[in-house]
Each structure stands twice: as structure tokens, then as C-alpha cells.
């Protein structure tokens, strides 16, 4: 009994610093956003006393809806492209010899060690109207000379994929590593064509990795700020930009809060969905 109490005290002591800090600087601020969304703004850019629904009501605005919709479809599209590219790469890396594995993993990670802003800027340069890529594409007739590669939603998707691709490759690779490739041979042996085996055996086999990969792209993409800000232009504006605009340009924190609430909820939704799906999967087994 004495042992148990000592352990409990030890556990509390070790957990205390992080619990305190994260509660104070993470949980409380997040809840605070909800509170701020319900308060009026004061003219000096701060928060006035009292409560109001005004900020929430102002969300129902075709402008906001357009931005929200764009945020969602850009995130979905980027996630889709990332997964489509990352699955074959994860598959390839899991099958290649150990020496090459490390080489490729290094090559994939290294660009990631560089500053994020710089990488976005590098793309801004590459996609510049006077830049080489634009010239090549216009010359070969793939796009018209007036078209711009920059300052639109397409550029945002491209660079979002560029940024988050390593985050999708790594969990998919980890899951593929644990996959028993003999299962694919068994499927072929039983008559499945290569693509069938891939779809019906490999993909379900790396399900966990797929879920992690999707979450690692979709959720941060929803909250994108830098990418649409630098290369998005008005046609590529996302929720994050609007929030920043309310804070720095309009100096209206409560409105920014209301928008942030929307973002928080849209981030929570997929996480909760995943949790529920996981519970559902584990329940039936435990009932046996």
C-alpha cells in the first residue's frame, strides 16, 4: 500500500511540469479563443467587456463561405495528391535494400531541414512569370503566355504538396516496412492481377499508416497561412489568411476569434472521426 502511494506521488511530480505548462499555454488559450469570439471588439484593437453573438452571426457571409470552401477543397486535393504520390514511394522504399533505404530516407528528409519560408520563396522564384518554367511551358504551348503560374489556388496546392509530402512518405514507409510482402505473392498465386493485389491486399494492410499520413497533411493544410500568403494571391486565399487579416489589418480580435473557432472545429472533426473509427474497430474484437 505504501508502495502504491509512493508511486502515485512520483507520477504526479514527474507529470506536473508539462501538465501545468501545457494547460496554461495550450488548453487555456484554445478555450479562450471561444470566449473571445463571443465578445465585442474595442476600437483600440483589444477586447471589450460584455458578450455578443455579433461575431458568430457575421460568419454567415458569402465571402467567408467562399474562403472556407476553398480552404477545404485545397486541403482535400493536396492530401489526395500527397497520398497518391507517397504510397508508391513508401512501397518502393520498403522493398529496396537496407543501404539504399537509408540513402533515400536521407534524401527525402534533407530538404526538410531547410527553412520553410525559404522553400516557399524558392518556389515563388521558380514560378515567376519571367522564370524558366513559365518560359518552357509557354514555349511548348502547354499554357498561354498570359497565364500566371503564381498567385492562384493551383500554386497553393503545388507548394502545399511540396511541403507536406515528406510527412506523408514517412508514416506510409513505416507502415509498409511492417507489411508482409508475401501476402502480395499469395494474392498473385491465387489469381489476382498486380493492380488488384495492390488495391485489395497492400492498401488495407497499411491502413494505419494511411490514416496517419492523411491526418499529417489534411489538418495542417486546413490551417495554412504562409503558403497562401506568399504565393496564393486573392484567388488562393484561405481561412488562415482571413484570420491574420482580422488580427493585423482590421485589428479585430473577436472576429478573428470567431473565424478561429471555425478552424478549430474543422480540425477537430477529422480527429474525432478517426478516434471513433478506431474505437469501432477495436470494440467487436473485445466483445468476443
Amino acid at each position: 500500500m505504501r508502495e502504491k502511494r509512493r508511486r502515485k506521488i512520483q507520477e504526479a511530480l514527474f507529470s506536473l511540469p508539462s501538465l501545468l505548462w501545457l494547460s496554461l499555454f495550450f488548453i487555456v488559450p484554445t478555450l479562450f479563443v471561444f470566449a473571445v469570439a463571443l465578445r465585442p471588439a474595442n476600437p483600440y484593437g483589444g477586447i471589450a467587456p460584455g458578450w455578443t453573438w455579433a461575431n458568430i452571426r457575421s460568419l454567415v457571409n458569402p465571402n467567408y463561405l467562399a474562403v472556407a470552401w476553398r480552404t477545404v477543397w485545397i486541403s482535400v486535393l493536396s492530401t489526395f495528391i500527397c497520398i497518391v504520390l507517397a504510397v508508391p514511394i513508401g512501397y518502393y522504399l520498403a522493398r529496396v535494400s537496407a543501404k539504399w533505404k537509408n540513402v533515400f530516407l536521407m534524401l527525402i528528409i534533407v530538404p526538410f531541414w531547410t527553412n520553410f519560408l525559404i522553400r516557399v520563396f524558392a518556389w515563388k522564384v521558380l514560378l515567376h512569370p519571367e522564370g524558366a518554367i513559365k518560359k518552357i511551358l509557354a514555349f511548348s504551348g502547354l499554357i498561354s503566355p498570359q497565364a500566371s503560374l503564381l498567385y492562384n489556388a493551383g500554386a497553393v496546392v503545388l507548394i502545399t504538396v511540396y511541403t507536406f509530402l515528406p510527412f506523408t512518405i514517412l508514416p506510409l514507409y513505416a507502415a509498409a516496412e511492417k507489411f508482409d510482402f508475401q501476402l502480395l505473392e499469395a494474392a498473385r498465386d491465387l489469381g489476382a492481377r498486380r493492380l488488384q493485389a495492390f488495391a485489395k491486399v497492400f492498401l488495407p494492410g497499411i491502413r494505419r499508416g494511411l490514416v496517419t499520413a492523411v491526418l499529417f497533411v489534411f489538418i495542417p493544410a486546413l490551417g495554412s497561412y504562409v503558403i497562401p500568403d506568399i504565393v496564393g494571391g486573392p484567388g488562393g486565399e484561405m481561412l488562415g489568411n482571413k484570420i491574420a487579416q482580422r488580427v493585423f489589418v482590421d485589428r479585430n480580435l473577436p472576429q478573428a476569434g470567431a473565424l478561429s473557432v471555425v478552424l478549430i472545429l474543422s480540425v477537430l472533426a477529422p480527429m474525432v472521426a478517426v478516434l471513433i473509427l478506431q474505437r469501432k474497430r477495436e470494440r467487436p474484437a473485445s466483445l468476443l
Partner: protein
Amino acid sequence: MRRSRWPFAVTMAVLLFFYLPIIILMVNSFNASRFETGWQGFSLIWYERLFHEPEIWRAAKNSLIIAAGATALSLVIGTTAAVALHRFARSRLQSFHFGLVYTPLVVPEILMGISLLMVFVAAGIKLGLFTIFLAHVTFCISFVAMTVLARLQDFDESIVEAAQDLGAGWWATTRRILLPLLLPGLIAGGLLAFTLSIDDFVITFFVAGPGSTTLPIRVYSMIKFGSPPLINALSTILLVLTFTAVAVSQSLSRSQR
């Protein structure tokens, strides 16, 4: 069974995709031309100009101070969290604790930035280097904790019992066994925290307030309003520096094994 060529082809294409912008950027930093349109000869002029920019030096100094402080504090808090998560793994408190530590890793940075900004404004805390420091510690804790936790999970518990069995009290065990074996994990966690802090933009941008800049904030304003060739030069320097730092840390943690 004939292997499909597709996965290999995709991998190669993606690698090219990854490196293209970086290579172009580095090449252009030596381009004497002010515009990206053509190569006008090799030149170090932009590096020279960079050297004489006082704003950049100030921003770099701020970044380093904040990174050093945030790394130190988050190392302490993150390591204690990892120890708790590992040693008491099955309790209900730790399930909650784990969720709390894990969540900042997946939440978009803008949410953390704006929520902290609101709290600071409402509490009347002046925005500046201190608020940046507080914000950085907050997100670094999760990274340090996860890194150290992974290392702890690889750790053979019976070694600690062996040390006690041979007469070592808790201090001798910590000093002679735990710390030496955990050190690589602590260094890896610390380096990760340091890199993240130096590189952070979004959260810093929201809680920095006027007058305090860090290197990423400086880079951002240069991108928006400044001279592209200077950014090329600065980027190349940062690229080389971070690359060297991480390469060194990788080789360090490998030689420990």
C-alpha cells in the same frame, strides 16, 4: 515476379521535385544579375550586402537567444514528461497526459499563434521577446517529449535494477547509468527543439508584436518587400548552416551506438 517500374519512377521524380527549387535558389545566390532572368556571372556581391545589413544581425541574435532559452526549458519539461509517460504508462492520468502532449504536434500553427496572442493581449502582457519565448517553449515540449520517450522505450529496464542490485542508490544510478544512456536522446531532443525554434515563423509572427524580429520574420518581410537576391544569399547561408548542424547531430547519435 516481374517488379513494376512505377514505384521507382515516382520516387525519382519526387526527389527531383524536392531538390529543384533549392538548387535553383542556391545557384542564383551567386548570380550577379539582379533579376532571375539570366545568368550574369558569378558574384559574391549579395553575400557582401547581406553582411552589412544590421537588421539581419539583430534578428539573428534574437533568434539565437530565444532558441537557446526555449531549448533549455523545454528540455527540462519535456524530459520529465517523457519519464512520466514511460514509467507510469498505463495509468489514466498518463493517457490524458499523452493526449495533451501529442495534440500540439498536429494542431495548425496558426491556431496556437492566435490563441496565445489573445491570452497575452487580454492579460496585458507586452508582446516581445518574452512572449515569443513562452510560445516556443510550448510547442517544443511536445517534440522533446516524443523524442526522449522513443529513446526511453528502447531502454532496457533491467539495467536500472542491476545497478541497484550492485549497490547504487538513486543518485549513483542516475549519474552513472541513466544520464549517460539517455544523453543521445536528450541531445537529439534538444537539437530538434533548437532547430524548430530558430525556424518558426507563424507562431512567432502572431506573438512578436512590433519591434522584435527573429530571423524568420526578417526573411518574411524581405520576401514580401525586399530584394530577392539578398534572400537567395541569406537562404543559402541558412541552408548550409542547418544542414551542417543536423548532419553533425545525426553522426553524433549514430556513433553513440
